[in-house]
Amino acid sequence: MIEANDTGSRAREDEWLVVRCQLGERPAFEELIQRWYGPLWTYVRRLTGEDEAAKDITQDVWLRVLRGIGRLREGSKLRPWLFGIARRTSMDWLRARYAAAVLSDVDVTGIAAEDAPLDLEEELRAMQGELARLPVTEREVLTLFYLQELSLDEVADLLGIPAGTVKSRLFRARQLLRRELESKGRQV
């Protein structure tokens, strides 16, 4: 119940920001940029794996955001809208760069189907590198969800997949991370 209230309040905060932007208020635009520049950059960085590309793509994302926010109908869906733009822009860049699938060399076959809790606290630093080695689909869903900016439903909405698929990708991503960390001799 508390989570539902938080989500409702968060959605209203987002809509309030969008409405102020649509009314042309300069401080609202600054607030929007200050609040979301970091999370969007991080998301793009994790999709592309390159600092310089992330910087350029994020700039492009913001151009699209600033040009499009006046037409955003549902301000409460600001988060999926922002990350949707970042996702499309990043995918365009990845397509242009690789012109094919960009999955990493992590083998995703043979992973156990049962869920298992994973204590990640001690492994965060190590995970920075491992996260970049995940396949794009798993890396993306893990980043979106654990950035705390999007709920399961919002991630599902953004990616155009059912919430159950998001859950299974999250599960698979955690499994992959664990396997990678274990293979490097870290206890998880």
């Binding site: 309040s9 209203r12 905060e13 809509e15 309030w16 409405v19 102020r20 932007c21 649509q22 009314l23 042309g24 300069r26 635009f29 600054e30 940029i33 200050q34 520049y37 970091g38 999370p39 969007l40 950059w41 991080t42 960085r45 910087k55 700039q59 913001w62 151009l63 600033l66 040009r67 499009g68 006046g70 037409r71 204590d119 990640l120 606290e121 965060l124 995970m127 920075q128 996260l131 980043t143 969800f145 654990y146 950035l147 705390q148 900016e149």
Partner: protein
């Protein structure tokens, strides 16, 4: 570990650059947008006048008709370009739309009065045809202005409701 702790540890992105904040300023600039609104209106009126002449002047030589067609094509190209900029590049926010609507009403009203004055003095059919075009454009401009005011009022109302719900009424 909580989702928030995980997020904090993983999301140490950079802060926005001055370039980006400058971009935001440029996107909020009213002057650039109104230039395109003026271009749109002038191109529309020019096209309206030439179209009226073409339709009402009897027995125009072929080369004049070709000239009119080219000029109308040029006018429509400018209209299309200005519309594209205003819907894709320098999108009009709610207050901008009101200013643009007022400009449209003023320009089209002046156009209509000018066409009527010329028609009254010369009795030319082209002037009255242009006046008819002016009436259509004026009605369109008034509708656009009313829509802009409605949208602005709707946004203000929504903003007040949200501020009340969020307890930000003192801001």
């Amino acid at each position: 570990m909580s989702k928030k702790d995980f997020s904090t540890a993983l999301s140490s992105g950079p802060t926005p650059s001055a370039v980006l904040l400058h971009l935001a300023d440029a996107q909020l600039s009213l002057r650039g947008r109104l230039g395109y609104v003026a271009l749109l209106l002038v191109a529309l009126m020019m096209t309206g006048v030439i179209g009226s002449l073409w339709l009402t002047e009897p027995a125009l030589p072929m080369r004049t008709q070709v000239g009119f067609a080219v000029m109308i094509a040029i006018g429509l190209s400018w209209v299309t370009f200005a519309l594209w900029v205003l819907t894709h590049r320098q999108v009009l926010l709610a207050p901008h739309r009101i200013v643009a609507g007022r400009m449209a009403v003023t320009f089209t009203a002046l156009f209509l009065m000018g066409a009527l004055a010329v028609g009254y003095q010369t009795g030319g059919a082209a002037a009255y045809a242009a006046a008819a075009v002016g009436v259509v454009m004026l009605v369109g401009a008034v509708v656009i202005l009313m829509g802009a005011h409605r949208r602005f009022a709707r946004l203000m109302q929504r903003r007040e409701t949200l501020e009340r719900e969020l307890g930000r009424t003192g801001k």
